[in-house]
Symmetry: C3
Subunit: 218 residues, 3 copies
Amino acid sequence: MQVSSQIPTALVALDFFGIAVFAISGALVAAEKRQDFFTFVFFAVVTGVGGGTIRDVILNVPVFWVLNPLYVAACLATAIVMHFIAPLVESRYTTLLWFDAFGLALVTVAGTVKTLDVGAPALVAVVMGVVTGCVGGIIRDTLGHVPSVLLRREIYVTASVLGAWTYVGLNGVGAGRAAAMITGFFVTFIVRSLAMTFGWSLPAFRPSSQSATDDSEK
Amino acid sequence: MQVSSQIPTALVALDFFGIAVFAISGALVAAEKRQDFFTFVFFAVVTGVGGGTIRDVILNVPVFWVLNPLYVAACLATAIVMHFIAPLVESRYTTLLWFDAFGLALVTVAGTVKTLDVGAPALVAVVMGVVTGCVGGIIRDTLGHVPSVLLRREIYVTASVLGAWTYVGLNGVGAGRAAAMITGFFVTFIVRSLAMTFGWSLPAFRPSSQSATDDSEK
Amino acid sequence: MQVSSQIPTALVALDFFGIAVFAISGALVAAEKRQDFFTFVFFAVVTGVGGGTIRDVILNVPVFWVLNPLYVAACLATAIVMHFIAPLVESRYTTLLWFDAFGLALVTVAGTVKTLDVGAPALVAVVMGVVTGCVGGIIRDTLGHVPSVLLRREIYVTASVLGAWTYVGLNGVGAGRAAAMITGFFVTFIVRSLAMTFGWSLPAFRPSSQSATDDSEK
């Protein structure tokens, strides 16, 4: 419990915005699937707090929303608002991708920062930043049966990895905390945005023969 | 470890019946998929204790079946019995839904009670009740590749939410513990039963245009 | 933290090889799906450490790779190597199955041993061995949208159960630790290998009527 008091206000705000944005992306999946109100809320809450929950459980620190249920209240409020304004949004799928990119950047940095703060090594902090950033969206896509952000061959995990290493690197060379956080956020968000805008992708793994790839359809 | 001694016998019994019922629903999915005996056991155990495991891990209390392996033994016994009697059940899918409703009601209340007991706020208790109640079935449906209870547009999450709030509300106004638990159970079970019997559903979210919904098929 | 020092070197090595082998199987799924480099790494890490992470979280002991990030580094190195040598492997799907069998045997025994070491009862140790052994592959298959090892009607969970009980049984009758571990490993690996080689399977559950099985397609 004593850990939470060490976390500065900036990180709390980062967590807060990150879960709200992921909650929006969760509500948008529920909208796509034409679910009822409480399923909206379920997707908003699970997507919003899922990544951070796994981070806290693995780090063995108190889960952030058990300490402070305002995070859950924010997901609830987000789901209610989205239930009314989602119809106004023309193409929800594209909107989902942009909110997801914003959430990815915020949550990646927040996860990385919190992991370093509890004294874990740099490599663990990067892994936790990436897993935290990506797991919310993966849970959302798995439960909602929509194509996983993980397997679309766009730069997604890559953007998260680069942002997490940016924070860890700047932190390692003694940069200010806020500067490192902001830079890490923008590295992830800009890389992901450029990838979405221009359809960038890293080279895909090339199978050695056609017969090998046919196996994947089995 | 000291937490377990505070949990009254009634709650232990509730936990126990809840996991047995979910174990049955897990075994029925394995039956639908014509799996072998050990996969029956796997589904029975994972569905039976999955929701409560996530609850305990998030609350950072000792996982109930690690303290008391009788819960796991109950899942094993359930799987063995189901392996013999499942063929007698005419329509397993309908049976699965009724057992699932019973388990949902029991586990929702048990999860809500345990969360309040460890001192968490009311909103957290409701979330934990709902997540605990729904996650067992979600894991079962995800691993078994059957249509998720989450996305069928019936009242499911809704029933769990109402039951959890009922317990929290009655508890808040000073009602007796047993009365609040029983009322919470029946609210969830009756709402879910009526929804199944009469095909009730909450109004689905209406998309703004046809083109937007087409996106969901991508 | 004091738990880790009690774990003997042999178990650490077992954990280490187990996650490397699962990391290979994760990278092979990424190869099948023609993903980019960082998704290779993501699958290698999640598959490699996923099972052990869930084991440690449920046992409420520090997660092994947070204590020792060399495990994560091993997954990273595995992903890098696999990115280069996977094209040399003719049939990746078959290769995946063999690596998975090896990983299943190693991780089942490692999970069983660690659970007994922290003082949990025998039944819990078997469950943890099986869940730990199978969950890595289940996460990999779920995230990669490949047919789950769980539902292929081959002997899979069965092999893990037999290996875990072998260790627990030999341990119970006072056999040497190393001998029990090696025997448990070979029981799982040989049972699984024979099942793969000869297409062995346990008798499938027989539904009572054709109409009941049609339900599963809904």
